[in-house]
Amino acid sequence: MTDREVTHPEERPPGYEGRSSTVGGEVPETEHLDPEHVIDELEGIEAVSRSFGRQTWDRFRRHRIALIAAVVLFLLTLAFVVGPWLSPYGFSEQDFTALNQGPSLAHPFGTDTIGRDIMVRTFQGGRFSLRIALFVAILTTVIGTIVGAIAGYFGGTIDALLNKLINLFLIVPALVILLVVGVRWGATPNGIALLLGFLLWPAIARIVRGLFLQYKEQEFVLAARAAGARAPRIMFRHILPNTFGPIVVNATLLVGVAIILESTLSFLSVGVQDPVPTLGNLIEKAKGQIDTKPSAVLIPGGFIVAITLCVNFLGDGLRDALDPTARKG
């Protein structure tokens, strides 16, 4: 990888993330503006200063699908949080008079083979899945940002090590490592979240590294250094705020990646184990009965797709709103 003439990471424009599993990367395109049109527009504009937050919100609001995705995601989260609380059943509570039933009024999603209400398990599962995914996104972003910042700003050994590590994950796919260690340490929600977090951060680190590499050559950094600021202050007070957009976008997209990976592992019976439900292990439990009760597979599957779809649209909208220079076509 390192010998490849055309794709040295430092030549990549900011916002380009290469290909990290399903974190969707877009090569930013140069915007082609018609000069006359720009002047026309400028003349019609009154000088109103708007805050960064306000501008971002205005741009985000125009992205209708992202707005809908945000609302749906909020409603889903609300359902996952409130649902188990409103339900008359506990998520590991068994009812031996209602084993393995199809959908009914008492149990809208049916019951599983040992008489647990699938509806409350689905909502509780969504809650665990989302919690794991949020934990992974936060952990990954924190580790990735710190390592990426140091690697990009100082270069040298840490940068070389980061490069080696990224190449290593190419040779030994993350899924293989997850399968190997997941059998033992992935059985609890926190365990699987830690494993995913430790495996996914290099993707973020690479992006942050690229941004730091680019910003550290700019005048405002030179000015800060001339004013006597030390490296940590320059890195975290001066450069980091500039990288806020891409970092938030990728953290959002990581929620989707984490949900997919967690549920895939659970589906292969490597992840979180019974009685704790996640959307993935609900499908794993129900897959043996897919012939007779496909709803028990399709409902949690539908929730997974709904979450990942919303997260990806939200990430796309945030990219447009937070990082207008890296806009896609």
């Binding site: 010998d3 003439e5 399903t22 090569v27 897959k287 896609k328």
Partner: protein, 321 residues
């Protein structure tokens, strides 16, 4: 160029060593190979054989070194969970089954992804462009196992016998001699579609982005200004350059496809490498797990090298020295 290839292969050796050591150590500390025997009710001799096979009485680094010394001599050891068959033969046999899905899938993916990507870039903001974008969002958001199960529910349960597929139903590999061409092709359709969706979704996004960048560059405008037909400019000047970033992605995707699709093979009960890896992991069969991991790593190294050499074909400015 020969020197370049040799140097490239040599630089991957430390990575291969670290990678295999990492997986070896993680496998060794994640599970106890003896635990499986406890459920089988066997005598002390069986324990001793397993301890002897894996040198379980030694520390992990020493075990790794003895595994490595025999591995570099071509001896990947026997696989206790598969009746003591040689790991090497097992991996090769399963790799052929996986290749029956991976090779057609790869070409179908590459062709559809390039077509979709180029069309949606050329007709940016058209209905087709929005359709392709929507399709790729769906593909990226749909986990392979959900899509595979959905296909199974639709074609395996609701319309039984379109493709002869049943969920998780083991039917063995089809051969032309026994089942005829039609039956053989039919059995491949659903697993290939499952592999196709997710990878095509992300590849077509990349193709679109790469193509847009190329289309908006000066040399394309020059070529158009010279009076060349639009079609020639897009296909000969544009596509050739837009394929360069795709080559890296193809290399990785093809290597991973050939390395076995764990989820797809599980859902369609396909006896490929992915399921062999799962068997190795679940049954604490260290030799088997390592055999598959080494095979995948070798694929990635070889295909990355091929991608680098392909760059030179697509872009004559690149020299290898």
């Amino acid at each position: 160029m020969f020197a370049y290839v040799v140097r490239r292969v040599l630089t991957t050796i430390p990575l291969l060593l670290i990678g295999t050591f990492l997986v070896f150590t993680l496998t060794a500390i994640s599970g106890d190979p003896l635990a499986r025997l406890a459920q089988l009710d066997v005598d002390q001799a069986a324990y001793d054989r397993l301890i002897d096979l894996y040198n379980l009485d030694q520390p992990i680094p020493q075990r790794y070194v003895s595994w490595l010394t025999s591995a570099v001599q071509g001896d990947m050891g026997p696989s206790p969970s598969q009746g003591g068959q040689q790991t090497f033969d097992l991996v090769l046999g399963r790799a052929l089954n996986t290749a029956r899905l991976a090779i057609p899938a790869f070409f179908i993916i590459a062709i559809t992804a390039v077509t979709l990507g180029v069309y949606s870039a050329v007709k940016q903001y058209s209905k087709l462009d929005y359709f392709v974008t929507g399709f790729s969002f769906l593909g990226i958001s749909l986990p392979t196992f959900v899509f595979g199960l959905l296909l199974q529910v639709i074609f395996g349960i609701w319309w039984f016998d379109w493709f002869g597929a049943r969920p998780f139903f083991v039917q063995g590999m089809r051969t032309v001699a026994q089942h005829g061409w039609l039956d053989m092709v039919r059995a491949h359709v659903l697993p290939i579609i499952t592999l196709w969706l997710v990878i095509t979704a992300s590849e077509s996004r990349f193709q679109r982005a790469a193509m847009l960048e190329v289309i908006n560059s000066d040399y394309i405008r020059t070529a158009r200004a010279k009076g060349l037909p639009r079609r020639t400019v897009i296909l000969k000047h544009g596509l050739r350059n837009a394929l360069i970033p795709l080559v890296t992605i193809w290399a990785i995707d093809f290597a991973l496809l050939l390395g076995g699709a764990v989820v797809t093979e599980t859902i369609f009960a396909w006896p490929g490498l992915g399921r062999l890896l799962l068997a190795g992991i679940f049954q604490q069969d260290l030799n088997l797990t390592m055999g598959v991991v080494v095979f995948i790593a070798a694929l990635v190294v070889v295909f990355n090298l091929i991608a680098d050499l392909l760059y030179g074909v697509l872009d004559p400015r690149i020299r290898y020295d």
